[in-house]
């Protein structure tokens, strides 16, 4: 195993992330009270993406990993975005 995997993240960072996640959850809940029309889904998905980005990058150490792993995750995300996008080509135009 290379030195990247033994990277130690200070507790302070973890706690800050935790607080950020809680705030974002709060935002999701409060935004859900307002009807933004078609934007509803975009807002909800954007907040969710930010939250998962924080978790993946710092808790799951992706930030400290090699390029290969980042690319692997990126390709999975692009595929997921295409899956969701194509589904909306049906749902939005029905």
């Amino acid at each position: 195993m290379s030195s990247e995997s033994s990277h130690i993240v200070p507790y302070r960072t973890f706690i800050l992330i935790w607080i950020a996640l809680l705030i974002l959850t709060g935002v999701t809940i409060s935004v859900a009270q307002i009807d933004l029309g078609p934007l509803n889904i975009w807002v909800a998905l954007s907040i969710a993406s930010c939250k998962s980005a924080l978790v993946v990058a710092i808790f799951m150490h992706l930030k400290y990993e090699q390029l290969l792993f980042k690319l692997a995750l990126l390709s999975a995300l692009i595929i997921l975005a295409i899956f969701i996008g194509f589904t909306f080509i049906d749902v939005l135009y029905r």
Binding site: I79, D90, V91, Y93
Partner: protein, 539 residues
Amino acid sequence: MSNYPAGDRGFLGDPKAPGFLGWIFSTDHKRIGLLYFWAIVTFFCVGVLLGLLLRLELFSPGVDFMSAQTYNATFTLHGVIMIFLFIIPGIPAAFGNLIMPIQIGARDVAFPRLNLLSWWLYMIGALLAITSLFTGGGPPDTGWTFYVPFSTQTASNASLALFAVFIIGFSSILTGINFVTTIHRMRTTGMGWFRMPLFTWSLYATAWIQILATPVLAITVSLVMVERLLGIGLFNPTQGGDPVMYQHLFWIYSHPAVYIMVLPGMGVVSDIIPVFARKPAFGYKAIVVSSLAIAFAGSLVWGHHMYTSGMSDNAVLLFSFLTFVVAIPSAIKVFNWVTTLYKGSIALDPPLLYALSFVLLFSIGGLSGLVLGAASADVHVHDTHFVVGHFHYVMFGGAGFAFFAAMHYWLPKIYGRIYSKKLATIAWGFMFVGFNLLYLTMQIVGVKGMPRRYYNYLPEFTDLNRLATVGSWVLAIGLVIMFANLFHSVLRGTPVGPNPWGGASLEWQIPSPPPTDNFGENDPVVTHGPYDFKEAGIL
């Protein structure tokens, strides 16, 4: 091989892991491959019996010996077994495990214990699927597709069957992760990416689909289970849900799954044809790139199963277009195989016979797929026997025959004993004739309007249905001869040396059966490509 005493059974008789437990807890990729192989072959035989029963019921219109409910349960079980227990794990889990690490010069896969876990998950899933037949509300009757709303309402034991599929899905993901890592990290010295045999390449492309698409299956079946248990209305319009959403989710996995089935088959064929034509594979890189292109583009065409579902016209247009796009890389492969044969010195041995049948039957299946891919034509033949004929051509004629080709090609390597070539050829003859009689007839009766998934039909379809049923018997005779011949060879066949076919890839350079550690102390050093027969000293 002088350091290899006659009668040594290699990994089959490894003294460090004796007995039954030595097998079911083995982390040796070859033993796990064989565990998969025998389990898969067993399920295949059960699935075939069920298929024969379906055909028997269709011998005459009206109830012959199955009620509507029994027929529904039988085709569901036939479909679930064939898809989830035979054809998806089929080539990757059995022959991928047996052969791929040797082909790249590795001692084992990257995560041997994960590999064992994946076999256990597969067996547990299979056991649960069998349990679902005898418990709860009786055998599931939804079809292997578990479409809502029926699957959320049926009183039959669909929940347990769904859970079984969930577990088997994880087994598939684990195999995918293992193979991607193995191929990235464990290639021996000199085994560059473009020196890998095409079989290994096809497994690589397949493994990515397994990793990326299978989680969607897990999500989908979980949602149906949640729906059945809690009734929260995800797919129910009266509660704000959307039934078509289920079809999207299901096919986002299940269409790429079609490529999980067929890509490894293409890999087997790409490995076999050069060996029996005594010529390097024509367009090696084109075959590699088309495998990756199929894996990618094939993941984007799921909507072509849904033209009649009430999906938006824009989506129909998009998916129809993309479906035609996937035909291109598939056709590239067919051209490459045919060109490899051109002016080759062809030895028509059983592995090649099965591989060539793959090319023909897969092409028929693929071309009838284009009929279905064109939305305007599909509207008329949707859910008829034309579709049933089509997917048997691609899955059975394609992936299934590739599995048979792989058996005839690699089992002599694994067991060190070879079958009777004459019997194998006779079996092939029966199967090829029976297969076409069965499924071409089903396609014709489908175009005439016979719907799928009915135990009954209009009297005017009787003759064609009888013909198809007779075809299924001819096919069954061929299958019995083929398996009898192979089983006999495993126990008592003529012993063969390390390289019975004259292959140039690494698996042919070690003894048959291979030793537990494959290459022994020294990892092999690769100096030529997998089909450079001259440099390997074979030509």
